[in-house]
Amino acid sequence: MMPPESRERRACFIFDLHVGLPLRPAPLPRAGRGSAVASYLETDLGGPVSELAARAILPASDVLAAALDRGFSCALSVSGTTVDLLEAHAPDALAALARVAGHPRAEVLAAPYHHGIAGLIPDRAEFVDEVVRHRERMREVFGASPAVFTPPELCATGTMADALPETGCTAILTEPRWCLPRDLDPALVYRAGSARVLLRHCALSDDLAARFFSPGWDCSPLSPATYAGWVAGTPGECVTVGLDLDLLGDGGLLEFWEALPEELAALGVETATPSAVLADRPADLLGPEREVSWSAPDGGESWLETIFQHSAAEALARAGAWLPGREVWRHLSSTDHFRAMAMRAGGCGRREVTVDHGATVEAFARFMRALSALEARSAVRTRSRRAAMALRALPPEAAFVFSRGGCGAGYAAHSLAECLEQLAFTDEQVVADHLARGDFSRWCEDVLGDRVLAVQVRECRNREELQQTMQGRADELVRRRSRSSAGSPSTR
């Protein structure tokens, strides 16, 4: 049975705000007994946060609060990290946001606390934990109990949809490109199992997030009336437009928003919160033609597309499997670090950022240095320090760089595990050259610090022997590390 078609046109506007802690170029030495986070990430963000508050958050909150009073509806998604930062450095901005969030016509959405990729890796327990913590924080600061979940980058996966009931959420907001079948209509409500699925309308979001600022666009300058006409002319159940809240601080968009609610109303477009849209569309009324599945059922193959992003995400997942403390790990899992590892990020309502390859290399290097140092420092607290050290992630300067005939083969191993993965496909000739020069054995001894493995590897004559040797040793090291870390006190 099809849900009833609403006669009135509906639009749902969602504002996303996330500020993460940037990575330091290299971790600082641990000082005292304070929080470990400051040694890996910049925590002194008073300047940038106040600047963001003054430029975007305060004026945007005023405009939105005024619009809400006039009958407009919207939703807010604010990460836990952002709330912490605002609380510390710009309490007035947090209060302004609370005014918007507390309005009866506004809704607060759930997200992972640290805007982390736990749901992508996938680490189900961590994912649930992050969302639950975020919902608690939202209740604390905004008095809200969010029911609609927004994944970071709006990239939903099967893991997230499955675990959704445990987090207390009933619906998920995502984008058509992460769903199967591929050609979903973003203006309709779908379902995945018991969870309902709202889709962001990328074209209408990018009109405001990207094209609005481009003087060469043939619709520039975009007037609120024109845009309202586009929304009104989009058939479906609900047009969901999402964009970064901080974009409202950029040239002219604020004035645009001041006028938009009236223009929408003039064309008969009703604005609604996601929950209001979903209220008259319970999951059991959505037929099989509205069932979606995910293009990334178990993580990985999502917006993480570059070698760097994958290498870093896998290293993060491996570290997550054994690290005794989670605090720094959670900050490292933030999508900001991963976005910076691609030359182009954003789009579909997010600020589009393009950087050169050098910047992505630097972002990856900073991430791996932090993760490597974190694992190395945690290794001290395990009984088998050597095993933990040999298995740890490595920064690019210590990685094993495969090379073919004098030039790089295009990849490098940032851990023993990654070396094994890459040995599976690298050229026969490449392996032979490295073996002949004794490169593998030197790396095992000098970098991984595992003399036993180095001696074993020295005896290997071909790829198969090398793989067997490394795999055997890696399994043994993992066993030794897990035996010893199980005995240590967990701070999770």
Binding site: T306, I307, A342, R404, G405, G406, A409, G410, Y411, Q422
Partner: protein
């Protein structure tokens, strides 16, 4: 891998005509493994001849003579339309010039020479034959407007006599669901490294050297890009030598399966041709939903809508690099270009549509002869 656009284009046109219930006879030379001198494949009757000759011109003269012999044996009741493909069969066209004849220019000698005149005797001889074919046939077919203009300019063929019928493609033959990562791994490439593919004859006309010169410019922007230059040809050794120290692989000849895998796994397909009458590689890459960066020549420039279904750049290494750089860091854009290309192939280059256009040309030729 099949070399050149002529053989598949002619064969597939014949098959497509036969599937519409026409009786189609195809006179060609025997391959090295062909047995017998007659075969029926996909409804088309093939007649094979075994020509010989000390050079390409005499070889083709001998081929034409034997084709005509075979033709005469089959010509009862007489064939309605005779369709000749390229200069190789011009001597046969001469023998049969009183019939309803259509001559297809898949390319010109000038074009195959990279858009310049050659000073050797074969060049003059072949150009002469091409001029004669344009002069004596009832109608001329070209694969693109570009080739039509070239034929009109080079050989003075009047405009009314030249019809443009593009090469068709069977999109379903070039698309297959592959896991790009596992294909890349087979070539020792990281599964997530962006892969740029060239497929074609390693000959001056196809410009593989231009791609090679573009490589350092691409690497300057992003140094994890990998290149595969697939195909064989005179320039293979030279190119291999020049690619030393660059992330370029030369797998040489790639079989049908490997070709399909590579085509469907590549992130960008580059067509750096100096001259391209039609550019079958383009429709093949589009069939596989690939993002194409191609030079602004001939059929490529005609069929591409820039920035919508492919990237079109001037014939220059730095421009080719610019084209690759323009898309390489934007996977979403790469996918959207591929999808737009696939849509165009289905809407404009499917053999069913193209065969209809060819039939119209045949009907016009018959009407002209009847007058």
């Amino acid at each position: 891998m099949r070399v050149g656009g002529l053989a598949p284009a002619a064969t597939e046109l014949a098959e497509s005509l036969a599937s519409r219930g026409l009786e189609v006879h195809f006179f060609t030379r025997a391959g090295s493994e062909t047995r017998g001198d007659r075969a029926v494949i996909e409804g088309v009757t093939y007649h094979f001849c075994r020509p010989e000759g000390p050079n390409i011109v005499d070889y083709c003269r001998s081929m034409s003579a034997r084709m005509v012999e075979a033709f005469r044996r089959e010509d009862d009741p007489p064939f309605d339309v005779l369709h000749f493909h390229d200069w190789h069969a011009v001597d046969a066209l001469h023998e049969l010039r009183d019939r309803v004849t259509v001559f297809s220019f898949h390319s010109t000698e000038y074009g195959r020479n990279g858009g310049s005149f050659g000073g050797w005797w074969e060049f003059d001889e072949i150009s002469g034959k091409e001029w004669y074919a344009g002069f004596v046939s009832t109608l001329v077919m070209t694969v693109s407007h570009h080739t039509r203009t070239e034929v009109m300019w080079l050989y003075g063929v009047p405009g009314w006599k030249c019809a443009v019928v593009p090469n068709g493609v069977r999109p379903e033959r070039f698309w297959r669901p592959v896991d790009p990562g596992s294909v890349k791994k087979r070539y020792g490439i990281h599964p997530l490294a962006p892969l740029v593919l060239f497929v074609g004859r390693l000959a001056f006309q196809k410009g593989p050297d231009l791609l090679l010169e573009a490589v350092p410019h691409v690497l300057r922007k992003r140094w994890d890009v990998q290149f595969i230059v697939a195909g064989t040809g005179q320039m293979a050794e030279d190119l291999r030598e020049r690619a030393r120290g660059l992330p370029v692989q030369f797998p040489g000849y790639v079989s049908g399966e490997d070709h399909l895998d590579l085509l469907n796994a590549a992130d960008v397909v580059v067509i750096p041709s100096r001259n391209e009458p039609f550019g079958l590689v383009l429709t093949e890459a589009w069939s596989a939903e690939r993002c194409v960066v191609a030079t602004d020549v001939g059929g490529l420039s005609e069929n591409i809508e820039p920035f919508v279904d492919a990237i079109r750049v001037p014939v220059h290494p730095e421009s080719i690099a610019w084209g690759i750089n323009y898309v390489i860091d934007n996977p979403q854009y790469i996918r959207s270009l591929g999808r737009a290309g696939r849509k165009k192939v289905v809407e404009r280059f499917d053999w069913d549509l193209v065969t209809g256009e060819a039939l119209e040309v045949y009907a016009r030729a018959q009407a002209l002869r009847a007058r």
